[in-house]
Amino acid sequence: MADHDVLVVGAGLAGMRAAIAAHRAGANVAMMSKVHPVRSHSNAAQGGINAAMRGAEDSVDSHVYDTVKGSDYLGDQDAIEFMCAEAPQEIINLEHMGVIFNRDEEGRLGTRAFGGASYARTFFVADITGQAILHVMYEQILKAGVRSYEEWFVTDLIVEDGECRGVVAIEMLTGKLHQVTAKAVVLASGGVGRAFEPSTNALICTGDGIALAYRAGATLLDMEMVQYHPTTLAGNGILLSEAARGEGAYLLNSKGERFMDGYAPNMRELASRDVVSRAEATEIEEGRGVDGCVFLDVRHLGAEAIRTKLKYIYEAALDYAGIDMITEPVPIRPGQHYIMGGVKTDPQTRTWDPDGAWSGPRGLFAAGEVACVSVHGGNRLGANSLLETVVFGKVAGEMATAHAKEQPDTPVSGAHLADAEARIKALFGRPDNGERTAKLRLDMGNAMNEHLAVFRDEDGMQSALGTVHGLQERYTELPVVHKGGVYNTDLIFHLELGYMLDCAETICEGGLLRKESRGAHYRRDMTERDDTAWLKHTMANVGEDGRPVMGSLPVTVTKWEPQKRVY
């Protein structure tokens, strides 16, 4: 008998929301995560979560329009319409679970302004929104008594007869491998920021789920769409949230000018992220930066507002850059932040297409940053990602439960476990040739950050792809130096590097394939958006030789025809 009806891989917001939904739908559900659930990267989201439900003028349609426009028309409009329509109810659901959202004078939920949005529709908890939601979600998991495999690292998806039937995972505290079976699997394993150096992402954001699904035959979509956030700290890439600009911060160049006036005269600092990041990069390139940075200035907001509404940001600047934002502007620059692409799913979060336009194992669902349903298209709006995790996390939990209930109990072969054990034993057996995981990762991260950042071109992307191929070669002989079982992170980092290299390869290939500029993908050698040839998604599937086979899929347009994007 299968261990569980539904197994959720990942315990960030998407994963926990899926687990709660599956539990409420009556499934025997379990979650698995390589870190304790509350350590998941969702806790880093500072700014907030969007829903159109306040103010006489705001409407779901307006939220949809902003998202479609923000996506540079690459988002699938049916998925966006669904997400925006579900948003208000989902905010209420979160509030009922216990999230302590900020209130207005009447004691109702209050909002703040955010980039790319026509109205203030971002709900928030000071600047710890992600953490405040993530911890409440975990409270609900404890309440429901959902089985949670904590510090279990997934190494394989089990696929038999085209069906996903569970995973193989390392129990990190012992080093033991286990096979955990399920009638449906939900992937909610987050993004792949660490393929870039630096990145705002946590060290655990290594694209495991994207690569696992890809290797298991699933389709990856729009992998080239990588978001650079406009305000990251120079040293270690740590994020200063858009909440700062939402509250009214200025961006200044070395001459002290609010340079966004010249790039986005209406929305200025609150234009969408690709636009602001490019503006900053241009200022820096044209010599109006200081040490590769421009400045974020909040001094005019006053000490009180800075200490309360931007508490975390204030402390981060102090701790990590040694700068007191009350008296000084902070040097910032664009930094890798988010991946819009991912595992292709339909709005029901299925990774397979009954009609065969794209492929994936039946019984495998995906939601959150790992997935590309595609609500963000070429550029994600701030505070739309948390929304995506909860809306599609819920759908995934419910759909996976329904799917599991239709499945017969098929016994699963023990060969998957034996295979994984043999593979890891072979890794331990590799001779020490002096190569180190950290070094290879750094080379990859630097190449990606150099050539797949805010500005791209053919030669650069070819060069990055060449670097990735070279690293993939070296990876086949990369040793695991530490041979212990208990909490062996040398082994874990080795496996993660393999996942990241797969992702990096498809990111480069996607970028080379897309012969236009759209959203975050801005090519210096092809600066225009080309709706005739490229109003479509790029698609990658793993080929026989292990290299990606590229293709494309149409974009779903319901009622918003592409227009020129002006902010």
Binding site: G98, R103, G235, L239, A438, K439, H482, G484, D490
Partner: protein, 320 residues
Amino acid sequence: MQANLRVSRYDPEAPEPSARMQDYQIEVPEHFTVLDALIQVREEEDPSLAMRCSCRASICGSCAMRVNGQARLACKTRLSAVAAEGEPVTIEPMGNQRVVKDLVVDLGLFWNKIRAVEPYLQPAGDEPEEEYIASDESMQNLITPMGCIMCGACVSDCTALEVDENFLGPAALAKAYRFVADPRDGASHERLQTLNEYGGVWDCTRCYMCVEVCPVGVAPMDRIMELRDSVMNEVGVTTPGARHVESFARSVARSGWLDETMLAVDSWGRFNIPKLLSQAPLGLRVLVRGKLPLPWPFHHKRAGAEFVGRIFKRWESRKQ
């Protein structure tokens, strides 16, 4: 700058496992945190070094460990701030918890305590159609305890937990406060009853360690003191701890200083002869050394006791 790190190592798979200290000397940039330095050690010197870390930005709560003897987040601690000339920076796993390997501890105890306070909203009655109406002030008040990143630093350095594992401890009590103070929660009274019991709010020794080590300003002890107030107001003065507080205040209000003998009698109960007898030798020793004032009825008023009494009166009238 040169970093001298003295790191605690423990390998459970060694033939005879035992903890030892290992020194590393590495060159690092001035702005490095303790975590940055440890990562450099792991990447360049010794990939077997085990520790938890993820966000590098003091938000995930993974990297609590003892730096120079005190629990801290490695990623929030600048190396230059803890390095003294010529001395190595010592790095050890958190206290009060079982070490799994090197700097990784078993957080089972930590989470069991969190679970013990039923850490989820228990609303009274049916959910409203829309959101619960609550003042912004009441929600803002919860941001501090909600800011807890569950890092375990406070539990590591809690002096009460060190002697009694049954104490719920600072993090779990701060979590409990988050629900007691949440206007949407309907179970506050039951929660306070439980917190009034053994292992609850009265077992804190007010040593202040948790306030000092908490990296995000939750100040668990302050939350515990707020819970004590709520317990006394809502459940009543029913435990030695609560009676201790009352007796303390009564004595000071009356005489301007503390009658420690009465404090014991009031706290433990006049007729709790066995407990009082067990305290007698201690009391006598303290008395002989001249560190105990004469007990009632010999407990005289201090000069200025009226002033002190007036402060109490003023406070009482304020409270009403």
